[in-house]
Every structure is written in structure tokens, then in C-alpha cells.
Symmetry: C2
Subunit: 360 residues, 2 copies
């Protein structure tokens, strides 16, 4: 009398005692169904996809077995087979404001209706992390990438390499600047112009600009340009002493910028983002300057943060949801037809919203 252990198919012998417990098969495969029903894997495959060349009887038997055994197709296998994943990767520069969330909502709206999945990664304004995220995305064989660069001078080669590999790439919000790719952006210059014009018309003369470092975020350059044009149009001399470039884009950077302006005559601040504006505004309040009476403050981005601070913040609000939608539409178009034009540019409208922080 003896006892043998047969290992059938790809099943490994589970060791329920510990260690190798993880080697228990986790998924039911097409092979398991084939073995169970004593048919070939190809028959199972075809039956499950409803191929009419499989007899109805067999097909139903297989489908029933699949259901009973809890079969779910393994997409990694399918991905490998077809070299596509029906997944779009999104790279955002930050996730701590609701801005990105709204854009992502727009992206998901379109993707969902086109049967695409979405994975999101945040680079936290760090170019190295951005690179890492791009690598992960590529590794997952995503079908296309929607990205917002955190620094227009970084990772340029990587993006170009992605393009060379014919992986569709679309940029949104921040201007990619030195990469030719479809993009969904806002007319920063014009919008900045109108906002500053509003400040001037309401009687402000010494308008400061708090912007991101011009060498990292190109939009900052454009908004600065619009700012400068507005000054010029209204005959106000440009004063470089009240133009501050910040290190980062956090509340603290806005506060620091105000500190730098301490000894300059300033009756208004136009900040590159709402976050900077809010940081600046709170610092102003804490040093005893009234907003908007002493200093008017305006931002750019337009998230609900603007309405929870007091005074409520004047801002330029790009249509974020729409921006996401357009970006998704573009990428899907480029996946379907990779030879589409790479220089397509969609300009998203932005609403200038006047609130308490610039009143009077």
C-alpha cells in the first residue's frame, strides 16, 4: 500500500502549514475549465467569447462552468497578447487641491463612456517622482498618457522617448513648452490681462505679481506677461521689485512672498495660483493689513478653496471638468488614430470670478 501525490496541471501543492500558502492558485484559469470539462482550452476560450463556431450546447455548458468556478479572465495575459490594456495613465503634479480632482473627474467621465480605465499618479511637484510615475505607467503598458508636467525643463527627453515609442501623449493645464504634443490649456496671458485690468480699474496702482519660478512653470511666464501688458496698457510703470518668484506653490510660499514685499508699496497682489494667493492673504491679515481695503488679492485656478476663506477670493477659474474631458477625448482619438496631428491645441475657457478679496 502506497500513497502518491499527483500534481495536475499547473497546480502547486499547497502547504497549508504556512510559508508556501501563497502559492495556492489564486485565480481560476481557462485551463482549469478545460480540464474540468475535458475539452481544449481553445474551445473554452471561444465559448466564453461567444464564438458561433462552438456548438450552442457546449458553449452554454462552458459558460455555466466558468460561472460556477468563478472564472475571471486574466487581463495581464490579454494585455501581453494584444499589447494594449484599455487603460489611460494620468500624471498630475499635485493632489492636495481640488483642482486636479475636477480635471480627473472630467477625464474619467469620458474614459468611462469609452470603456477605458484610468490610473492616476501624483508627482507632488517633483520631477524625479514624475519620471518614476511615467516609468510605472509604461510598464503597465497603458495605451496613452495624459500628463501635466511639474517642471517644463525636466524629463523632456523621457517624454520625447515616449512619443518615439508611439505611445499617445497629451498634456493639460501646464504648457509643455518644448515638446510638440496635443495639449489642453488655458489662455493664461489674456485671462491674466483681464484680471489685472480689473484691479487697475478698481483703483489699484501698485500691483504685485507673485509667481512660480519662471524656470519651472511656463504658465507663470505667460500670466506675468499678461500682467505686464495690462500695466502697460494703462500706463503704469512696471516695477520689478514687486514681482516675486516663489520656490514652490504652497501656502507658505505665498506667505514668504508677502514678507519679501514688506518694504514695497503694494495695494494689490495677483498670485499665480489660489494657493499662493491664500497663503499671501493670510499672512497679510496676520501682519495687520486688511484685505481688500489695504491690499486686494486675486488668484488663479478657481477651486472651492476660494469660497471657504474670508474674504472670499477673486480668481480665474478654468473649466476644469471640461479640461479633463477634452484631454481624454484627445488621447482616445490619438489611440484610435496615432497619426493624428501632434500640434493640436485646445484652449479651454476660464471664468474670471470677482469676489470679496478685490472689492472696493
Amino acid at each position: 500500500m502506497f500513497c502518491e501525490i499527483y500534481l495536475v496541471g499547473n497546480e502547486k501543492l499547497p502547504n497549508f502549514e504556512g510559508e508556501n500558502f501563497d502559492s495556492v492558485m489564486k485565480y481560476v484559469t481557462i485551463k482549469d475549465i478545460a480540464r474540468e470539462l475535458v475539452v481544449s482550452v481553445s474551445t473554452v476560450s471561444r465559448a466564453l467569447r461567444g464564438d458561433p463556431s462552438i456548438r450552442k450546447e457546449t458553449r452554454e455548458k462552458i459558460q455555466a462552468a466558468a460561472k460556477r468556478m468563478g472564472y475571471v479572465p486574466n487581463p495581464v495575459a490579454t494585455n501581453l497578447k494584444f499589447g494594449r490594456t484599455k487603460t489611460i495613465g494620468v500624471i498630475v503634479p499635485e493632489m492636495s487641491t481640488p483642482y486636479a480632482a475636477k480635471v480627473i473627474d472630467g477625464i474619467q467621465d469620458i474614459c468611462y463612456h469609452n470603456n477605458y480605465k484610468v490610473i492616476i499618479a501624483s508627482s507632488s511637484e517633483d520631477a524625479d517622482k514624475e519620471k518614476e510615475n511615467l516609468d510605472i505607467m509604461m510598464q503597465f503598458m497603458i495605451d496613452g498618457i495624459i500628463a501635466c508636467r511639474c517642471d517644463y525643463n525636466k524629463n523632456t527627453e523621457l517624454y520625447k522617448k515616449i512619443q518615439e515609442q508611439h505611445i499617445p501623449l497629451v498634456f493639460y493645464d501646464r504648457i509643455p513648452h518644448n515638446i510638440e504634443a496635443p495639449q489642453v490649456i488655458v489662455d493664461d496671458e489674456t485671462k491674466a490681462f483681464f484680471l489685472v485690468e480689473h484691479l487697475i480699474r478698481s483703483g489699484r496702482k501698485n500691483i504685485a505679481y507673485i509667481g512660480a519660478n519662471f524656470d519651472t512653470v511656463y504658465n507663470s511666464v505667460l500670466r506675468h506677461k499678461g500682467y505686464r501688458e495690462a500695466l502697460q496698457r494703462y500706463g503704469i510703470e512696471y516695477n520689478p521689485n514687486i514681482v516675486v518668484q516663489t520656490e514652490g506653490l504652497n501656502y507658505s510660499d505665498g506667505a514668504t512672498a508677502v514678507d519679501k514685499l514688506r518694504h514695497e508699496k503694494t495695494d494689490a497682489i495677483f498670485a499665480f495660483t489660489d494657493t499662493l494667493a491664500i497663503g499671501a492673504m493670510n499672512r497679510l491679515k496676520s501682519i495687520g493689513r486688511n484685505v481688500p481695503r489695504d491690499v486686494a488679492v486675486a488668484g488663479f485656478s478657481g477651486t472651492n478653496l476660494c469660497t471657504i476663506v474670508s474674504p472670499q477670493l477673486t480668481t480665474v477659474e478654468p473649466r476644469q471638468f471640461e479640461m479633463g474631458q477634452k484631454a481624454a477625448e484627445l488621447i482616445i482619438k490619438h489611440i484610435a488614430n496615432p497619426s493624428s496631428s501632434k500640434s493640436e491645441q485646445v484652449i479651454i475657457d476660464a471664468d474670471i470670478i470677482y469676489r470679496e478679496s478685490t472689492e472696493g
Copy 2:
């Protein structure tokens, strides 16, 4: 004179006119290197992984070629081969506050140092989206899932199925309630008790509780419990008329809750989250009630939102980064040793931070 086109290896004929352009090979594979150097794929594979059984000379030649040709290993293939991806999936209920971002930072901190990649998906407080995200994650064959359920009554079966498939699962922040799984949470009850105690000691008598629907977020039940205990301890009668359950967790829900309290005597509000608290506070201000003089307001979560509003918000601040770190440690431990205890519970400390909104 004639012209033939040879298709070598798996390269498909690119049709530069349109349609099939996407079938151009996107990636350099191990096969391409093998063909180029006229060696077998196995030799290339071994050489690239530094196998000592490959002659140094050959190895270096292959490595050089790989570099030159821009080879990157295709992890989808590796995944299929090994059934693991070295990737952890994170499901967050929302991304529009910095809370999740901090937790994710903590997760990424640990994962990065343990060579795990992280993919994140937000369910936007929607159980259906949560399900969808879980499905995507499973499809990518992620090695483990860190999740924060948006509704403790939804998707329970799905989570249980995930556990049955021996995919490690860890919950954070919100109490999974009816699923036995390792979890990283805060002692809601005790912290709520202390916060309410502080309100009582500073002279408040009619303290309202604004909480999420008790049937969706279990933590709300616990904070309510702590609230009730504090009242009892100080001999204040529990008044159900000033306990409001909100539909959602947005600013507007906080505002609506205040509207519901309009005809009740209330001199303090303890809200389930900062978002609700801020929504409530702003509504109070807009109907002419002073915070904190007329009504003190306190929240729970502790993000930098609390310091940008005025008055600044008193809150309970769980150590979010640490929470993420612990969750990541737990999941990595369970991946390494799937038979670890499923009932492990890590309690993260939370700091009660007293600010202007409850002064006086």
C-alpha cells in the same frame, strides 16, 4: 527588378497611411537583442539579469546592446510569468482634501523603500466607483490592496471575495466594520470624547453633532458615541434635535446641517469632519452668527484647510503620514507572509489641536 518586403520576427508591417500605424512595434524586446547579436533569448535574459553562467564577455556585449537599443523589460510579461507585480493598489474615498494625500505620502514612503510601486484610485465616495476601482486593481494583478471604504454597507461581498483569493487586504482610517482584516485606525470614540469635553469645559452647553449618515461611515457612529459619553459625564442631557446626519461630506452638507439647526438653541458644533465644520462655519457667518463667540465649531481630520479659514479651526488631527506608513507596513508584511493574523489592529494617535474657532 522587384522589391520584396521581409517581415522579420514579430514585426508587423507598418502602414504609414493611417489605420494600422499603431501596430508598429513599440518596445524593444529581448528577442530583438537576441536576433541582433545572434544568440538565443535565454542567453540574453540571463546576461541581463547578471547570471554568472554567462561569460563575462558575452554578458557585457549583451548589456551594452540592450542599453544601446533602449531595451526596457516588459513587466506585463514578468507579471504573467510570476503572478506578482510588486505593486500595491490604494483605494481612497476622496481626493479633494489633503487628508488622503498625506496618507498616500506615508504609503509611498514605505513602499518606495521596499521596492513596491503604488497605484491610487479614488472612489469619490461612490460605492459603485469603488467596486470598479477594485476590479481594475485586481486586473492589474496588484500584490495587495490598501483601502478606505466609502460605505461600510457596500461591496462587502467583493472585499470578502478578494480575501478568499488570498490577495492581502488592509483597511485604513474608516472602520471596515463587518470585514475581518488588518486595519489602521484612530480611536474615534476617545478623541471625540476629549474634544467635546473641551467644549463643555469652556462653557458650552448646547453642543450639536453634525455627522455623516450613521449607515455609511461607521466612524461617525463612534464619534457620536464619544460625544454622547462626554455629555453624560458632565451631566448634560442628550438632545437628539441637535444631532444632524448629513447626506454627504461636502461643504454644502455642513451648511445644510446648520440650516436644520436654525431653530434649535446651539452654542457649539462638533462636526464629523473638517469639511463639514468649515461648511457649517461659513454658513453660520453668513447668517450673522459669530464664531466662536456665538457658536464654537470644531472638526475632525486636521488638514491645512483648518489654518486657511478664519477663524482657524479646532480639530482632531490623526497622524496621517504615520497612518499611511503603518498601512503600507502591514500590507507588505501580509504579502510576505499571507498567513499573518487578519485581526491585527493598529491604533494611530491623533492630536487635538485647539484653535480660534473654539476660543473663549
